[in-house]
Amino acid sequence: MHITSAAGVISLLDEPDDELQVYALNRLNDIVPEFWPEISDHVEKIEVLYENEAFKHREISALLASKLYYYLGSYEDSLNYALCAGSAFNVKESSEYVVTTICKCIDHYTKLRQQAHDAKADGDMKPDIDSRLEEIVNRMFNNCLESGQFKQAIGIAIETKRLDILEKAIRLTPNLSEMLSYCTNLCTRMLQHKGLREDILRLLVRLHSNLDPTTTGATSQPDYINICQCLIYLDDPASVSDILRKLIRGDQDQISLAYQIAFDLYDSASQHFLSDIVQALKAGTTPETTTTQTDETDAQVEEKAPPKPVAESQSDKVLRDCTDRLARILGGDESIELHLQFYIRNNHTDLQILKNTKDQVRNSVCHNACVIANGFMHCGTTIDQFLRDNLEWLARATNWAKFSATASLGVIHKGHENDSLNLMSTYLPKDSTGGSAYQEGGGLYALGLIHANHGKGKITDYLHAQLSSASNEIIIHGGCLGLGLASLGTANHDVYELLKSNLYQDDAVTGEAAGLSMGLVMMGSNNPQALEDMVAYAQETQHEKIIRGLAVGIALVMYGRMEEADSLIETLMRDKDPILRRCAVYTIAMAYVGSGSNKANRKLLHVAVSDVNNDVRRAAVESLGFILFRTPEQCPSVVSLLSESYNPHVRYGAAMALGISCAGTGSKDALGLLEPLASDSVNYVRQGALIASAMILIQHTDSTCPKLKTFKELYRKVINDKHEDVMAKFGAILAQGIIDGGGRNVTLSMQSRTGHVNMSAVVGMLVFCQFWYWFPLSHFLSLTFTPAAIIGLNAELKMPKMEFRSNARPSTFAYPSPLEEKKGRETEKVETAVLSTTAKQKAKDIKKEKRKASTSSTAVTPATGSRPPTVEEKMELDETEAKLAKKETPAQGEPSMEVEQSTTPKEKETEKEKEKEKEKPEASFEMISNPCRAIPPQLKVISMPEDSKYTSLKPLSHGGIILLKYKKSSEPEDLLEPVAAGGPKKEEVEEGDEPEPPEPFEFVE
């Protein structure tokens, strides 16, 4: 039975009786999907019915009207009538109409809530929200909650800013802690609106601290670690210090927890935040605030041994010790110290790479690059052997190159704070004249790099004094940079004034550094006075260099301020001066760093394709990387078109954006885009692509990223190629430095382990990008290097001897094997061997040799295969076949050559099999000793061994510094002796000599 027309039913609508009309409406509601074109002619009739107050079934007619408008594509009217339909609109129905309308409903509601929220912020009148709309959304929420779709409910609740629902949803969730961390994640990664984010986080903190013991089971203790993470976002140091104070009054475990939180805080929070906590802690616990270093060590001893009788009661004493120790942790002293230890212990730099590069270097630019790359490679390891071994070569650096070379010492000794002044003494300005200004300026800059973001007291004072007394513009340049680095983000007024006075000298060299450093000092402060000074001067001065310095400085001041920066951005964006427009672009990058904000992206993309100035366009594309670095998987798709731009500057920018956002991820997509750029026809595009690829591939092994080998090969090729352009060579040399950075123990990351934006890393990255204009600024990248480490600590903050279990084959995450000496010569041979003619010839030879082969195969080197063995194979060989490998060591470095020359395919086959056999017995896990390198993908598979004497306080998968709980308190702990700076090799060198220096080398001008 099928009707061809709805006319019959429609005609019933005209009947004078209500019953008939209702009947008609109900029928029409059923047949509307099929007959809407016919029925829609009569929509007025239906509307009239709805409008008729006397009509008892208005809701049905509203529903019908809504459906009609839906089919007609007029969603707004449809929504309106759906709302009028009230309960007749069944949200549980699964028809297309209902689903679509509910979507519209929620969208509309979200929009209104957003407006209401904005209006409240602006103090305007609130637009009314239809109560019926709210009703439908509420019904939807209830449905979600009833059917257990909590995540959906939470998502929409956040979207619509309904904190009440959010709370309800979280409370109803069976797995509370998981949901809370999900929410925290959502909040910090997805939410772009600052105010709302704070509201939600506050709610989360409340929920965290009220965790109901009945729902969470035995662990009734609130999750302090997560609470503190939320509080960092909320910028609420007072609450954090309350928690810490409470914890250190507890038992040993809780004290350890307090330390753990403190380490996490140092990892994530700003200096300002930390110093507030320290102050609050000190004020709250100890009457006397000064404790000397010796006290500290005494206290540590005391804690282990039975306490000596002291004047104050024991609990007070313990409390004070804990506070002091917390203060040290929060001050970063502990972390820096530990990381330094880690770097020194685990240094795996391959000097051969540098040596090879050095031998290829022909001109000053590459020379400079090589020195910088050396800095990166040894960043934080305190090993300056390469420089010392090559004093004569180094002496070729003159003028600014010397400045840069001296500064690179700062990179190498990064974090080596105790002896920094001693260490650099030869290069620092002395009262007696005669030192080279470049060297002295570089020395001051180096000091800043050593103390970057951690230059309290002494160093700042020292730099301050040096800077105020200096008269040479080069020394001032270095001094400004050093001071800016040391007092990064402190908003120190004295420092700022000093820098400003240097800026006002209107000298190009000084002004550039001063402008940049003013930004460093005032970082993220949004200080109106500073902004006014800087913008006004930038508009006034004639020196392009100064404007450039100020441009970066201004951007830094707006770091992380999001919407607050908008008006400034607008003004700068309209400026005639392209450098100031570039400044606007950087300001967007800094203000919205890591937010993934669509608004910011849109603006940047617009500038990237519309500005008339190449520099501005390049900067705009680069800046995309900063906005997107939290979601690196998005970046390749955003810049893929730009990377094919006709404009080389835009292509360069795209490469850098990929490098910045995907740093350390090994993203295949990003590398796919970079590959063509690395062979671009324009030299600086190649440079950018090479550097970016190194940034992406840092801390990856062949097994985590198969492209690694191709790119490493490419760097070498570019460096060795005589005809390659200097620019590209520069890029390749830096790339080599970056990829093996920090003794192969660092990764590049602009966010902390807990997902906070790492301020100093962002600065480092942004200023590093300025190497385009000023090579010495490339040293800033050392700020972005973060140790890829797991460092276990016991309750006394000492590293115990213990092991972690890595549940992956040892070869998967192994360090690359070192290069061999004769490399260069032999690779050439390999190349000739692969020619097709020789291949044919060889095929013939092979046949001949085949017969012999069976007899001789035993003599074959085990370290070779038909393809150059991957790192894993080599590594695994090292381990399992130590004896054989020892015999064959010379062959290991240049396997490919050996293959071509001495093995026949037959032999290769047997070789392969052999290797496979060896592969099988390889352990499926590996024990690595504390402190160990753990690259990001490895963190997932690391666990505590079952028989370990320790348990960790937080999951190992977070990495970083982790406090351990000693299970067998009866036995004494086995501790690691701290190694002396300068590397384990020189252990015989006495501590006193340590800063014994690269000093003997004198620059020959």
Partner: protein, 269 residues
């Protein structure tokens, strides 16, 4: 359900007997009808799916609607008639092919009436749409359908004379109602034409052209139209009034526009 059906059937019987009387009490019938329709909504009225209905219900509903249609003609209630018709059409045209139910004796008559009804209101397009749905054999042979089709033809030809003659041979008494309306419509048409065609016209001529039988009717009509009989026994029409409507074409503007388009087209190419 069956009890409801029986109830409705009983109501239908009373309605039928009431309506079959020589001079039915129309008010009473419509009251019955109203109750019946409400009763029908409790049953399967105007179903759109195959299952769950019975032939009995079906026939009952159809019969009720037929009576309704006839009743509304009697009451000269055109909208009501149209409503019944559009409901009936479902029964006549949609369901009939699938159900083995005998055809209603009134089917053709009512369909014909419907056509005539459309003609009477000058809804020629609807008329043809309706016609499309009827089988060709019916259109040519069926007494009831043939009549309105012929009328439509006369109308289109302007053969008003035939129309007035057609009044004499209606197939059913109920047709007269619409024929009268139709003639009225035609008269209006003619009158409108006369106003445009003549400056003045003799009373006797007008009488003939408008097919009036006697002078009284003519006079009534003239006053309705606002025609005044002058002393020369002529109706005078005010011609100047009609000229107001004729606006001059904005030829200059149009030409300008066309030239602009042409120029733009050229630019595009």
């Amino acid at each position: 359900m069956p009890s409801r059906l029986q109830e409705a059937a009983k109501m239908y019987e009373t309605l039928k007997t009431d309506f079959a009387k020589k001079t039915p009490d129309l008010e009473k019938c419509s009251l019955h009808l109203r109750n019946l329709k409400i009763a029908l909504t409790q049953l399967k009225f105007l179903p759109s799916d195959k299952n769950s209905y019975s032939d009995q219900e079906f026939v009952l509903a159809r019969n009720v609607l037929e009576i309704g249609a006839q009743l509304s003609i009697r009451k000269k209630d055109i909208p009501a008639f149209e409503r019944y018709m559009s409901q009936l059409k479902c029964y006549y045209l949609d369901y009939v092919t699938e159900v083995g139910i005998f055809e209603s004796p009134y089917k053709q008559e009512l369909l014909g009436l419907n056509l005539l009804c459309l003609l009477a209101q000058n809804r020629v397009a609807d008329f043809h749409t309706e016609l499309e749905r009827l089988p060709a054999a019916d259109i040519q042979n069926n007494e009831y359908i043939k009549h309105p089709v012929a009328i439509e033809q006369y109308l289109m030809e302007g053969n008003y004379n035939k129309l007035f003659l057609a009044k004499g041979n209606v197939p059913a008494e109920s047709y007269n109602f619409f024929i009268d309306i139709l003639l009225g419509t035609i008269r209006d048409e003619i009158a409108a034409c006369m106003e445009k065609s003549y400056k003045n016209i003799l009373f006797s001529e007008a009488l003939r052209m408008l097919y009036f039988e006697d002078q009284a009717e003519m006079n009534n009509y003239a006053t309705k139209k606002g025609w005044k009989l002058e002393s020369d026994k002529c109706f005078h029409f005010n011609t100047s009034k009609q000229n107001d409507d004729v606006r001059s074409l904005p030829s200059g503007d149009l030409a300008q526009q066309m030239i602009d388009y042409a120029r733009e087209l050229e630019m595009i190419i």
